[in-house]
Amino acid sequence: MMPEGLIAVFQALPYILQGSFVTIGIVLGAMGFGLAMGIPLALGQVYGSPPVRVAVRIYVWFFRGVPLLVLLFLFYFGFCSLLDINLSAFTVSVAVLGLISAAYQSQIFRGAIASLPAGQLKAARALGMSDAKAVWFIILPQALRLSIPAWSNEYSIVLKDSAVAYALGVAEIMARTHFVATRTYQHLPLYLAAGTIYLILTYAGTRGLRLLENKVRIRGYSR
């Protein structure tokens, strides 16, 4: 039993590992998209006018409340055909995971911004800074530093969620593993291998973010 399993894993490994590039592509795309959208959402929720705040809250409520799989099918099979646009399953996966991550990331940044002493914004304004400059030079550099631990958590969640892209036929780690497993019937060793690849990717990412956190730590603050 065991030798066949090992042989199956070794034979399938290059094929599955190629899928890890697809997985990494989805995660980087979704996290980047979520970051680019999450920051403005957070700023809108903290500093925006009442209608803006309501809009952000509705956005967050929607994308945190609907299951990933439902959203993937809704966008891929629903909206894409309704609007008659032809997007690849990969693109839709990145977009949907990104839209969801933006909702979660906006709450990470919102919390970090809220935790900063309000007086710093006042001091920046008192020096003649516009609100945009104060946010860019004073608020965000501190809020983003504070966000790294929670952001690292979000990374590991998006990484694992990316396996659901399998349902749209994206050839990432999970899809490839499933493909091999149904042919070789070596489910146990193959899924163990897939799980191990995810663990390694989680470790690498969180470790990297931990290093970044230490690198940008503000001097004078204890760990």
Binding site: G119, Q120, K122, A124, A126, G128, F137, R219, G220
Partner: protein, 253 residues
Amino acid sequence: MENDPILRIEDIKKAYRAREILKGISLSISKGELKVLIGPSGGGKSTLLQCINFLVMPDGGDVWLEGRKVNPHRKRELYGYRQQVGMIFQDFNLFDHLSALQNVQIALLRVKGMDKKSARERAVAELERVGLGKHIDHYPAQLSGGQKQRVSIARALAMDPKVMLLDEPTSALDPELIGEVLAVIKNLVANGMTMIMATHQISFSSAFATEIIFMEDGLIVEQGPPSKILSSAECARTKEFCSKIYDLHGEGN
């Protein structure tokens, strides 16, 4: 010309819902004067100072800087005005992610658009002036309260303000650190800086203030030169308040 007020405010009003914090405050200050706001907490001193540079938007009233009325609803004008009015806060409000040098530099670079070299030179000079030449690379978390407040004074001075507003600059400090900050403020007085300061430092005020303004319940109750306001019988309310402070803190500053 010398006696024309640099800054004049007229009938400043502010209410939070039904609570009136400022019930119409007017005052003016000429070059080189130090006007001290005293009075019980909650009397409106801090709100008044923040209304003067529109960190708190007044409900009514006007502010003139060098004879020009400030329109706070025009952003460019507001930002330009604030550059000329330095503000010192009770709890320093330093930018925690920036070193002392960067705290002083940032507005020179990002607001005044100075080049890096001159901004740095200016920031170093201001930090030296407040006695922190050896601490320019320290971060706020590595500085004592007195040092932080001196950085914040250097940060304001670097902008070449025409007036400075000081909101209880020593109230958050340990007693042994108050002296170093007062020494810096004393120096500003000697160099002719125009300042409005809210404080509980009665003896400092009586020694250096041009005028003491006693505020209570959103109104100016009594005002005048220290000699008059701290001793004469007509200023009974001020005297009573000051004697309570003396009881608490003794005769020292």
